[in-house]
């Protein structure tokens, strides 16, 4: 079959139009892609960061009136360190005892009738043997003030009442921590019956 001249011209025109449409679509896609990819603006922001200083929390301390245990407003107090953990040699597991030292700090100088209510987790310093048995144990500090309601059953958390002078620089309070089978009768916490 032989095409006529008008038919050929129509074919040529159609091909030309198709080519131009393809070109136009391609240009549009290109422009959109490039615009999306690179049409951004950044605002860089900088600052310096500096942390304050602190010590790991090893306990809580509250300045109180020794006679009433009422908090003293405005008087700060911190447990600075629990240290010097020393297990006495020669005692079997379950009958051991250990010495522990505790530092506190309370700026403000001498104040009559002042005392410090201290609560520490004696296992927190990480110096106690992993197999230390707190159940049935107790603690005693010859310089501690009597503290009604301090229970030995709360170990390894120990609640103690420190005298006013314990806050002096370079001064620490030493306590003995004992397992249930250790010897001794004195205790700064209330032991359970038969304990």
């Amino acid at each position: 079959m032989t095409r006529t001249a008008p038919a050929r011209r129509t074919l040529v025109v159609l091909l030309a139009v198709a080519a131009l449409v393809v070109a136009a679509v391609r240009l549009t896609v290109d422009a959109t892609d490039r615009t999306t990819a690179a049409w951004t603006a950044d605002v860089p922001v900088t600052t310096d960061v500096a942390l304050g200083t602190w010590t790991a929390s090893v306990g809580a301390c509250t300045a109180v009136r020794a006679a009433t245990l009422e908090p003293v407003p405005g008087r700060g107090c911190d447990v600075v360190d629990v240290w010097g953990y020393k297990v006495e040699d020669g005692h079997p597991v379950g009958s051991r005892w250990a010495q522990i030292r505790i530092d506190i700090d309370s700026p403000g100088g001498y104040e009559p009738g002042l005392a410090f209510l201290v609560e520490v987790d004696l296992s927190a310093p990480g110096e106690a043997p992993a197999d230390w048995r707190y159940e049935g144990g107790w603690f005693f500090g010859s310089n501690l003030l009597p503290l009604p309601g301090a229970r030995c059953a709360d170990l390894p958390t120990a609640r103690m009442l420190f005298p006013e002078w314990a806050a002096n620089a370079g001064v620490f309070i030493e306590i003995d921590l004992r397992e249930a089978g250790a010897s001794g009768n004195q205790s700064s916490c209330e032991r359970q019956a038969g304990g």
């Binding site: 198709a18 690179a38 049409w39 950044d42 960061v49 500096a50 942390l51």
Partner: protein
């Protein structure tokens, strides 16, 4: 099809292919259009210009860095917030995102959280009068720095200069 007609068809098709990037050589050139020549072409259609400020009054030049007040004295449990003001001086509306925004600093001693920019759309303000940004063309974004409670004492006293975050604007 006569020789003359075939020639015409091939010629037209070739023009279309070249313009459309269908010829491999042209396609390669097109892909490399990511530098100055193309940026100029884009700029002729509109500008993207996001400015920053630490106080909402003095604005950076385009691309300039906003220097915020130092974050100091962070201790466990406390948080410090810093705010950057943003102004769309573009000829097109912008959407904002945080880019290059670290979640932690100093080996985890500091956590950083950012205000959400999702859905934020700043109106165009090509008048570029830094003293009177148009309504809807400005906003703020905040970064909050915090030392987590119980952070190790080894974090105490550490510092880091030139902490960088970036807010990015793109046509909305």
């Amino acid at each position: 099809m006569t020789r003359r007609t075939l020639t015409a068809v091939v010629a037209v098709a070739s023009v279309g292919a070249v313009v459309g990037g269908l010829v491999p050589g042209v396609a390669t050139t097109s892909a490399a259009w990511t530098d100055d020549a193309w940026v100029t072409a884009a700029a002729s259609a509109g500008t993207v210009d996001l400015r920053g400020s630490d106080d909402g009054a003095t604005w950076t030049a385009a691309g300039g860095t906003v220097v915020l007040a130092p974050v100091t004295g962070l201790v466990p449990g406390a948080a410090v917030e810093r705010t950057v003001h943003l102004w769309n001086a573009s000829s097109v509306p912008l959407a904002l995102t945080w880019a290059d925004a670290p979640a932690t600093l100093l080996d985890g001693c500091v956590e950083v959280t950012y205000s959400s920019l999702a859905g934020v759309r700043l109106a165009a303000d090509p008048a570029a009068d830094p003293t009177r940004p148009a309504d809807g063309s400005v906003t703020t974004a905040t970064a909050t720095f915090r030392v987590p409670p119980g952070a190790a004492a080894s974090c105490s006293g550490r510092s880091l200069d030139d902490v960088r975050v970036t807010v990015q604007g793109s046509p909305a």
